[in-house]
């Protein structure tokens, strides 16, 4: 009897440890799945101005009160990357250095502009000094956000030197921002757009395979 109890006890222990391991592995797999299925390119909303359209010239005042022209052809021949951020958005904080490094890497063909909205100017001033972005224009304008249909932050808009809208979207990582520059260089707004233009029978071939 003693021996049977001992064996059963040991087996139960082994099962408990094995089950715990299984639970942990399952939870981990679910976590990995969440990371994998996260969106891979800048998420482009369908409302607002379309990619390829000419942008309207807007005069927006920055934190110092100077007027900055946004949209339209740029006299210096520079493309404009507008990054919409906010002191209340946590992801923005990590994306600001990424945008700075990307624009400095892109050399002399692009200028970086930050944009935000809200009335609390002192909050914006503290934010700017906190992020060390005094050298860049920091626009505070609700009209600008409305014009480009900014719904979620951090949101980026890329306007070509000729004034056409090259790319826009919700950006969360360096890859998202780079995808926008890539989209400007290749002239392809998105993967869906590429498929539509270059592989008209792509959808059909997939449907055929599926059936």
């Amino acid at each position: 009897m003693e021996g049977t109890m001992l064996i059963s006890y040991l087996i139960l222990w082994a099962l408990v440890i094995f089950l715990s391991l299984l639970v942990f592995a399952l939870a981990r797999q679910v976590g990995v799945l969440h990371e994998r299925v996260a969106p891979a390119g800048a998420l482009m909303p369908t409302n607002g101005p379309k990619v390829g359209e000419m942008t309207d010239v807007m005069s927006v005042s920055d934190l110092r009160g100077d007027a900055v022209a946004i949209g339209g052809a740029d006299s210096a021949g520079l493309a404009t990357l507008i990054l919409f951020i906010s002191p209340t958005c946590p992801v923005c904080k990590s994306l600001v250095p990424v945008a700075r490094s990307l624009v400095s890497y892109e050399g002399r063909r692009m200028r970086l502009v930050f944009a935000s909205d809200g009335d609390k100017i002192d909050q914006h001033v503290a934010y700017v000094s906190d992020l060390d972005i005094k050298d860049y224009p920091y626009l505070v304008s609700q009209a600008l956000g409305l014009a480009y249909a900014v719904s979620k932050l951090p949101f980026a808009v890329l306007i070509g030197s000729d004034g056409t809208l090259r790319s826009k979207g919700l950006v969360n990582s360096r890859e998202h921002l780079e995808s926008m520059v890539e989209s400007m260089d290749s002239g392809v707004a998105s993967l869906q757009d590429y498929v539509e233009k270059n592989m008209p029978d792509f959808d059909e071939s997939i449907r055929e395979k599926a059936s």
Partner: protein
């Protein structure tokens, strides 16, 4: 009166927990400093020294648990440290700053850090209760070989379940950020 097996298992578990936590913080010191700053509880000049001090305290506690030197002091200090963490998290939860990382990443977990949530506070409270349990008087039974097998089994199971629950809390946070709110 509690069986001496319980304090032994708890001591081993906490030794592992604190050493792993200290290792985690030491292996990414700059990161931990940024997380600590993001808690917005300390004046700027204190952030760096405290960020250095925390892993040292945790390591000391871990060694305290495993060595068995001054078990009461170790248990009390652990409870105080865990309570401090719980308080810091609660303050930021009340402030509504849930998207800061908790910095309570566990040695075995990889990938994303955890966002704050009330489940983490609940977990810390549970840990405080466990840390204080060895203060209760024991029956003074001598532990045999078989008891140590049970201790190792329970600690192993506890570590796995702890890591698993941590991962589930993290997954839940990921799902919440997907929904946008």
């Amino acid at each position: 009166m509690i069986d001496p097996l319980l304090p032994t298992a708890i001591a081993l578990g906490f030794a592992f927990l604190f050493v792993a936590a200290a290792w985690h913080k030491l292996s990414a010191r700059g990161r931990f400093e940024a997380i600590l700053r993001d808690y917005r509880l300390l004046p700027e000049f204190l952030v760096r020294p405290i960020a250095m001090l925390m892993p040292v305290i945790e390591l000391t506690l871990g060694l305290g648990w495993i060595s068995g030197l001054s078990p009461r002091g170790t248990a009390l200090a652990s409870a105080v440290l865990l309570a401090t963490y719980a308080l810091a998290m609660t303050i930021n939860l009340v402030r509504g700053r849930i998207y800061i990382e908790c910095g309570c990443g566990f040695g075995t977990s990889t990938g994303e850090e955890q966002a704050l949530s009330s489940s983490l506070v609940a977990r810390n409270i549970l840990l405080i209760v466990l840390a204080l349990l060895p203060l209760a008087p024991t029956t003074g039974r001598d532990l045999g070989t078989f008891d140590f097998l049970v201790v190792v089994g329970s600690v192993l199971t506890a570590i796995l379940l702890y890591a698993g629950s941590g991962q589930l809390i993290r997954n839940r946070a990921a799902i919440i950020t997907w929904r946008g709110k």
